[in-house]
Symmetry: C2
Subunit: 475 residues, 2 copies
């Protein structure tokens, strides 16, 4: 064994023993040369060998770091299991809990691991602000009649262009601009169902869907959902046979909280099953631009033949949440959704619509998104590594294919509402699992973690703290 191989083995042992953690910087080549009293060339050779083994990774101008994949190398966190919810519909009353957890994030300036929102750090707010300010100098744009539904043509054109570029051909005339996806989802659901109707949702489901159901006094029924493939078609087919389902709400790409990307074949099957049964489907596509793979994911909308898919999107997860600009592509329900939009909030503010349109027009969007996706993918790996390393044995984690949240199943003894309270007392928020189901008991030991914030020591310490608290609860 050569000297540099010996050095490489020593360092790898130290890493595997946890002295250096994933993401830690290891001593510089010069420092290591001094510490071990060996030549710089030997150190460089050892580091290159460790890089080829996947133990270290070099970052330009920064030095060598323990690879983010090392943690998973040490100990594999188990994968999540498919859900098996009880197929009984129930009324929904989840919003008070969600609002109180969201408030805790801002009220105490807590570490926002529990936030459902993207950290605005990565967003081009200066440019948007500059555009908005310039647009606002034009008095004619401070009216109301020029912002009436369906929305400003400048923005509608840009939205349609994005879909085209991403492989879904849409008719610009179908687009209705809304106050965020929140309004879009509400209006689409209200266009197809009424109070008392039963709506099929994923399990776990993004609580925004439960909110829309609660908003309108409808009932929810949960469908078994696979952590990698999404809603199980067979389970849905069975429910459709036994229950009268008014609509189905799904998030086929980077579902919150599971992060899966439904395979194309399953998307097609889902759309066909629901079309055959004449059940409208509300597709929440707010994370579609945040994919980690090579290509933009397909949409249910692109498999829709009969106009039964009501697709909802937003700039809130990819550009800025502050402007509250979303949209609906409601298929055959377009006119009804437009009517409801007019009745619900009259217009969506004009200046934000135009500022976003200008940003998209000037072609900065794809560039911005590439950086955003790269950051989120890196941060997802870091967080997975950290959870694997610092959370108690028996923890299972999701493998998000996009988006910015991680779904974590803790040992069964952990009560995530209790964990939430304990973390909050230490200035840290987490998303308790009971927010994601009409049967809170199902996800009592689950939490959702947000990895959209730039990695920091504070974040790392917060994760370690949550891991320790969870371990204490698991005993």
């Amino acid at each position: 064994m050569t000297l540099y191989e010996k050095l490489a083995d020593d360092i790898e042992t130290v890493v595997r023993n946890g002295v250096y953690r994933p993401g830690d910087r290891v001593p510089s080549v010069r420092q290591a040369s001094q510490q071990h009293r060996i030549s710089i060339t030997t150190v460089i050779r050892a580091y290159l060998l460790l890089e080829s083994r996947g133990v270290l990774e070099s970052r330009p101008q920064s030095g060598y770091f323990v690879s983010l994949r090392m943690a998973q190398g040490n100990r594999h966190a188990d994968e999540l299991r498919p859900s098996r919810p009880i197929a009984v519909s129930t009324t929904v009353d989840i919003s008070r809990l969600v609002l109180s957890t969201l408030r805790s994030i801002s009220a105490d300036e807590a570490v926002p691991l529990g936030s459902p929102y993207p950290d605005p750090q990565f967003f081009p707010y200066e440019k948007l602000n500059r555009y908005a300010s310039a647009i606002g100098r034009n008095k004619a744009l401070w009216g109301v009649t020029n912002a009436l539904p369906p929305g400003r043509p400048e923005l509608v054109r840009q939205i349609a262009r994005r879909y085209l570029e991403n492989g879904t051909s849409v008719d610009p005339n179908e687009i209705i601009v809304t106050v965020g996806a929140t309004e879009a989802i509400n209006l689409c659901l209200q266009a197809v169902a009424k109070a008392g109707d039963v709506i099929a949702v994923e399990s776990p489901t993004f609580y925004a869907h439960l909110h829309a159901i609660e908003r309108s006094g409808m009932r929810a029924i949960e469908v078994a959902t696979h952590p990698e493939y999404g809603m199980e078609i067979d389970a849905l087919a069975k429910i459709i046979k036994s229950e009268s389902i008014a609509a189905c709400m799904v998030m086929p790409n980077f579902q919150n909280p599971l992060g899966f990307q439904m395979p194309d074949e399953r998307k097609r099957e889902l759309v066909e099953l629901l079309a055959d049964a004449q059940i409208p489907v509300i597709e929440n596509g707010v994370y579609n631009e945040l994919y980690f793979g090579d290509a933009h994911p397909t949409t249910l909308k692109s498999y829709d033949r009969g106009g039964m898919v009501l697709h909802c999107g937003s700039f809130s997860k990819s550009l800025t949440a502050a402007y509250r600009v979303g949209w609906a592509l409601p298929g055959r329900y377009r006119d009804e959704v437009e009517r409801l939009k007019f009745l619900n909030t009259l217009t969506t503010s004009l200046i934000p619509q135009l500022a976003i349109a200008e940003f998209l027009e000037r072609d900065g969007y794809e560039h911005h998104l590439r950086r955003l996706r790269k950051s989120y993918a890196q941060q997802a790996n870091l967080m997975k590594a950290m959870v694997t390393r610092f959370f108690p044995a028996g923890t299972r984690i999701s493998s998000p294919a996009g988006g910015y949240v991680l779904w974590v199943e803790l040992p069964a003894k952990v009560d995530s509402m209790k964990l939430y309270q304990m973390a909050l007392e230490r200035g840290i928020t987490i998303g308790p699992g009971c927010m994601f189901s009409i049967s809170p008991e199902n996800y009592k030991s689950y939490i959702r973690l947000n990895y959209s914030s730039p990695w920091s020591n504070e974040l790392e310490q917060a994760l370690i703290t949550v891991g320790k608290l969870a371990a204490a609860c698991a005993r």
Copy 2:
């Protein structure tokens, strides 16, 4: 008779014969002196005499004008009669008609006599834009959790302060910031009633109230309304005895379209009647700041003892409609309205909230409002004069005590939808009366005219055209 008295009589005759119209500038003192070959002093004396008679009025730095009251002096348009609607509840489906008329305003850049919105000309958009732009430079303000309901404390404090200054003491903790009054009215109504419930409204009623009823699948019942005093308490009492009324929606100040200010005693009686019957009342106060009298009007809210008044307000009619910032003071239904706000649109955009708060904080608001009220009061008089003069015999008009719309009853033969179409072909919009009732036939020969735009020759010509078209229809 002196020379100046003779000159004064001559000019008065010319005015009464319609050669000079109300608002017209009469020749300057110098011009008149030259025209009549008399001394400047004589002209000045004649003009002062005419001013004391109410025929002319002087405007600083502008000269002498025919008094706006002269038209009414020429020929009195009759006053409106109290409405006597049939007290039968019905479902509502008015929004498509309203949206199509609103669209016609912006699509064709038509003269906006039919607009329900204030002309943005008088609004301090430059200042708001400057504030918004400065606020937007702070990255921390581009988040979502810092804009969660009930609303930004900076704005909530300013809203509470305005109420205090205007004589209504409110608890800042009661205020829920919304996406315009549109959302506030919807949420307040939804907090107290459900699909199928019967809601009592004025007759004619502002279609925004009908929209909220339509939005939720409720039924409306119209209550006799006096053009000067508002909803008739006795008529409402009778309906309450025979029907189960879930809520009452009223606009006690400067009602759209009638413009009345309900006398304080009637406000008190209305609140007491409804409180005794345990019927919540939704008070739309969006025009409250736009009074023509000496003092800010009282609110129903100020007579409320049991928290049964759900008061709605907005900056859209007094500062800017483009920002879509309104609020609700929902009394005992506060928590439910907050929950619905969170479910409906999540947040109200933060930067506009802060920009408005800053404008109010810096004390420009009252100054701005004083100018606005003065302009609207002058323009109301001008429009009343013009309608009196140029509309066919048998026309009746409202006497708005505030706000910016005039309600016009045309001779019974006039079909206002037909008139609307004819005017539109000439690039003029008007508000057809059928938008203001669940029984469109009741207001078939009525129109609503907007006088918020700065007076112009184009506006004057448009009014004359509408008058001619109405006369043609009346034949």
